[in-house]
Symmetry: C2
Subunit: 230 residues, 2 copies
């Protein structure tokens, strides 16, 4: 069954502050997840809330996370405890005439849920390939695949993309009418994560050519990942 | 008493995975916090771990967070519950000859602690000015200060910078020796949050000139905030 195009709003995913900036649209969430590189995973260790940055990838309707089998976080994820995950892209600094209307332009996704471990070898290999392809499309086919030892040393977790909200701000400052006559400049400084030219491994000169996708690297232009429909 | 130059390592702040990438150096943490724009705050609502992106600023040895007085998160922060906060800067994509050695270059700070609310009016105004100056140095003096109504509608929280760890990765791929002969290209695609030319408020043309700090906006070159020593 294909996933619904909008997420069902729950008490936890409902955006209460500035709900006009919220969306529960699956395609909007996936575009942000496919552009981002780092997710911050919130989990409870003992009684302490922890926030840990992690690499991730989206694969169809799940968010993939992975890490060393021995790590504390992986053990927690394997335990099936609830997590909260945030991915945030910063698009600009908003300068208003009044101090209090200064803001940031951003696009963010927040996901709640419980992870399940990806254990079946074929699925695990596909998930690991997807984690590599998330940083550079097609790269998993152009690098040495994981061997048995590496597979054992790594755990992969899948978080279903069902409890999801999107929140974005874009555009210029929103001022009080009384402030529009003030002489302070107001506007936006656009910000963007930009790549510069790839640097070859300085310790061991690579034998092959730089991948074309690395030369023209631009996450804003990433074609979102599409599930291959069998 | 001046703060110690290194953070005391606790069971919670100790980096267990790849401890060689960890640091407990106050100056290293502050440089990352001063460059970043968004913090992801982890807290527990009911029994659910939540991860919420927020604007923040560092002021001396505290991290400042703020938000609408009415919001759920502000009420939680005011309750003095423990939070975890992560700030992550992405510096590059690391392409290795083997799939499993693909990585990201990054600099991250994780903070644990309990917030206290900034209630004294003078301190609150200073904190709000610092939150504005974090996005653009000197901007609080070049915009309308908060009025009494705005002050009441906003709560400011201070998280002491004492339970802090830094984790960074930099440099090229770390390959297995057996993989060095493979023909795959290996290296780094550097990434950087870059600004483009400021865009004036399109709805209401600003009367003043663009601030010089906005024209040359570059967070990598930010002079870290220094506490004025009396």
């Amino acid at each position: 069954m294909p996933a619904s195009t909008t997420f069902t709003v729950t008490p936890e995913t409902q955006v209460r502050r500035r709900p006009e900036r919220a969306s529960y649209d699956r395609a909007a969430a996936y575009a942000i997840l496919d552009e981002g590189l780092v997710a911050t995973v919130a989990f409870v260790a003992g009684e302490t809330p922890c926030a840990i940055p992690m690499a991730y990838a989206r694969h169809a309707d799940v968010l993939l996370l992975h890490g060393a089998s021995s790590s504390r976080l992986q053990r927690l994820l394997a335990g099936g405890g609830r997590v909260g995950v945030a991915v945030t892209l910063v698009d600009g600094v908003v300068l208003a005439r009044s101090a209090m209307h200064h803001s940031l332009n951003y696009r963010s996704v927040v996901v709640f849920g419980q992870c399940s471990e990806v254990v079946e070898e074929g699925e695990k290999l596909a998930a690991l390939a997807r984690l590599v392809d998330h940083v550079l499309p097609g790269r998993s086919a152009e690098s040495r695949p994981p061997n048995a030892l590496e597979l054992r040393a790594t755990r992969v977790f899948a978080l279903p993309l069902e409890e999801v909200s999107v929140k974005c701000r874009s555009g210029g400052p929103l001022e009080d009418a009384d402030d529009l006559g003030l002489s302070h400049w107001a506007g936006v400084i656009p910000l963007e994560l930009r790549a510069s030219a790839p640097l070859a491994d300085a310790l061991h000169a690579p034998r092959g050519a730089v991948p074309a996708a690395a030369v023209a690297y631009d996450r804003r232009r990433f074609v979102p990942f599409k599930e291959v429909v069998p």
